[in-house]
């Protein structure tokens, strides 16, 4: 046994205990919120959506690898990606459960979370997002079920159930289609949630929906590859095919360049709409309180640097640079979600005709919000760690499942008459 594996085995319990402690602190903070109300946060009537919404948006966006890779495997027939899709689906399952935990914390009446299912307002993007998130989470549960069923400890204990869960694989193509539909709908509608608000000019534009879905696909793929590579470095239970991951990374690099083009023109083009409130918001991004986030966090480190590393074969082949580029891509997506959520709330334009000065607000999360947020993130990390160890989430040597023919790639039947 190598020195390195010994070290990893020693570190594993420390890592797990650390995460459990952070989760416990988060749980205590959550109890504090539930018993005293959202008054213990730094949220106000002017800035009602803060850190938790930021985590929620990021978790959903970073889960987009699941639907993207499932579609690639089951609809386009790129079978070599199948083990990567398995990792992505598990990350998606965790990401959506993290997002739902954050939302439960954030809404004032968590016991009414089911109201969107019972009382429909089809005009509300947020209603559509809620419905799609619930439906897509159902898809993810079905997609993750075989992973549990196939684990050896599960098989020996519950052989019958294991067989049933494994059989869900048969509908994998249908699940991929459903997942693609629900994801395209709500990933972009999350952007539209902001994009339809005429009261906040910096948000009010159709392009937010496009930017949200494009950045989600890129960030979701980046997190999937990053998590796979890091798992392979740190755990003997994980093994990856670097050549497959390398292909995805290269694609991420090119997509980042496309996204840079969209983000750049979409943002700077707003200067010329001369719309009160929008110009002020834009200045917050480009030269004000959020300018470091925008230029450095989003554009330079979040897009440009990783794009160059991932597109260039020479740089990408250096393992450390490759990992750094993936990490920066994920960070850039989080920065974009954070900036988007906060910038529209930082400038509240006056509604009074004689007062044309906009009202600037600030927000920084309270300790309680940070603890709850860290608790949710620790849950995700712990679940992934356990997934790698006990469910073989990152295992590119696993035998490919019995052939599932991609349906869209099938040749059409030739007419006989």
């Amino acid at each position: 046994m190598s020195q390195r594996i010994k070290l990893h085995r020693a570190v594993f319990p420390v890592w797990v205990i650390l995460l459990v402690l952070v989760m416990a602190a988060g749980l205590a903070a959550a109890v504090h919120v539930f018993s005293n109300g959202l008054v213990v946060t730094n949220l106000t009537d002017l800035v009602p959506w803060g850190l938790w919404i930021g985590i929620d948006l990021s978790a959903i966006a970073l889960s987009a690898g699941a639907f993207t890779l499932s579609a690639a495997v089951y609809l386009l027939g790129w079978k070599e990606l199948q083990p990567v899709a398995r990792t992505a689906v598990f990350i998606g399952f965790l990401g959506y459960s993290m997002a739902m935990l954050c939302l439960l914390m954030d809404i004032g009446r968590p016991e009414r979370f089911w109201h969107a299912v019972a009382f429909w307002n089809i005009h509300s993007p947020l209603w559509e997002v809620t419905m799609c998130v619930i439906l897509y989470f159902t898809v993810l549960v079905l997609e993750v079920a075989p992973i549990f069923g196939e684990a050896s400890w599960f098989k020996t204990r519950w052989p019958k159930l294991s067989h049933r869960l494994h059989n869900i694989h048969k509908i994998a193509p249908a699940l991929a289609i459903a997942g693609l539909c629900f994801s395209l709908l709500h990933q972009s509608s999350l952007g539209a949630t902001y994009g339809v608000l005429k009261a906040r000019p910096i948000w009010y534009k159709p392009s937010l929906a496009v930017l949200f879905i494009v950045s989600a696909v890129i960030g979701g793929l980046a997190l999937t590859v990053l998590a796979s590579k890091v798992s392979a470095l740190l755990s003997e239970r994980a093994n990856v095919r670097q050549d497959v991951l390398d292909k995805i990374s290269r694609a991420i690099g090119w997509m980042l360049l496309g996204y840079l083009y969209l983000r750049f023109w979409d943002t700077l083009g707003m200067e010329y709409t001369l719309q009160p409130g929008r110009t002020e918001g834009l200045h917050l991004l480009t030269s004000g309180a959020l300018s470091f986030n925008f230029w450095v966090g989003e554009l330079l480190l979040g897009i440009l640097v990783p794009a160059v590393i991932l597109v260039s074969g020479k740089l990408r082949r250096q393992p450390r640079l490759h990992l750094l580029a993936l990490l920066l891509t994920v960070g850039g997506l989080v920065a974009y979600r954070w900036d988007t959520n906060i910038v529209g709330q930082m400038v509240a334009f006056s509604y009074l005709p004689t007062q044309i000065e906009p009202l600037y607000t600030t927000y920084s999360p309270s300790l309680v919000e940070v603890l709850v947020g860290l608790g949710v993130i620790a849950y995700g990390l712990l679940a992934f760690t356990l997934g790698v160890r006990f469910l073989g989430i990152v295992d590119h040597n696993s035998l490919p499942e019995e052939a599932v023919e991609p349906i869209l790639a099938m040749p059409l039947p030739v007419p006989t008459d």
């Binding site: 959202l38 009602p48 809404i107 009261a199 099938m410």
Partner: protein, 259 residues
């Protein structure tokens, strides 16, 4: 074999999707076709800035009658740039927009239009997501960040609470005192004319700067005022079409110079 199952699944899924969409559109797409209630009234408020002296009695009456928090009033009194050295005020309640952004985007339909145009809040439905606060261009909505337990300093001097306090975790806003309108109409009174049937802020104004009434009735106080003077609505350019109109302070100045 597998490909057959795949195609069948695809067709089934497509069929289910189409069915759900059709049913949804049929059930929800056309609320007017469902025999929605109609009303002979279209309530509106006119605020005369030439008369308003900023005494804040409207806000106190609102705080007492609607039992609102002192730090989160439904009717905010805002001081504007002075005109010819005289202060100018804008009391800002909920605008009860005809095209209300909050009604459009509430994910559970907890805020909705009544047939007479009042934008209502269903505190039993509201999940407290606060999306409406982001959507409202007028900052008319406040959230119950905790349970409202403090004493109401405006009671009893400015009136007694007529509605229940809202629970923790829901948003709230001005309701045009719909309970006073409904109770008044049931007693044969006319809102805007009879004090008991008129929103508390309007009834309390000592200088008659607030006017209330039915836009459908050409003889109502609001219709008369709007026919006589030019009025503005806040952030008209958004297309929300507010039911609260302001007669600008500059009007008095124009009248004086004309006479």
């Amino acid at each position: 074999m597998n490909s057959k199952i795949g195609r069948r699944d695809f067709i089934k899924l497509a069929a289910v999707g189409t069915a759900v969409t059709t049913i949804t559109i049929a059930a929800k797409g056309n609320p007017l076709a469902e025999g929605k209630e109609t009303s002979p009234y279209r309530w509106a408020m006119v605020i005369d800035q030439a008369k308003c002296v900023g005494c804040g009695e409207c806000s106190l009456a609102c705080q007492a009658h609607n039992d609102t928090r002192e730090d989160a009033p439904w009717n905010r009194m805002i001081e504007l740039e002075p005109l010819n050295g005289e202060p100018v005020y804008a009391p800002v309640p909920c605008m009860h927009c005809e095209n209300a952004p909050c009604v459009d985007i509430c994910p559970v339909g907890a805020t909705y239009h009544r047939a007479d145009g009042i934008v209502m809040m269903d505190y039993e439905k509201c999940i407290g997501c606060r999306y409406c606060q982001l959507a409202c261009p007028y900052g008319a909505r406040t959230f119950n960040w905790d349970k409202h337990t403090s004493a109401n300093s405006a009671v009893p001097e400015w009136g007694e609470p007529e509605v229940e306090r809202r629970p923790r975790g829901v948003t709230e806003k001005c309701t045009f005192c719909f309970h006073r309108i409904d109770r008044g109409l049931a007693e044969g009174l006319m809102p805007g004319i009879d004090r008991q049937a008129t929103p508390a802020c309007v009834a309390a104004c000592p200088v008659g700067a607030r006017i209330f009434g039915d836009l459908n009735d050409p003889n109502s106080p609001v219709s008369q005022a709007l026919a006589k003077y030019p009025a503005v609505q806040l952030r008209q350019e958004l297309g929300t079409s507010p039911r609260v109109f302001y007669l600008p302070a500059r009007r008095a100045e124009a009248e004086e110079s004309a006479s």
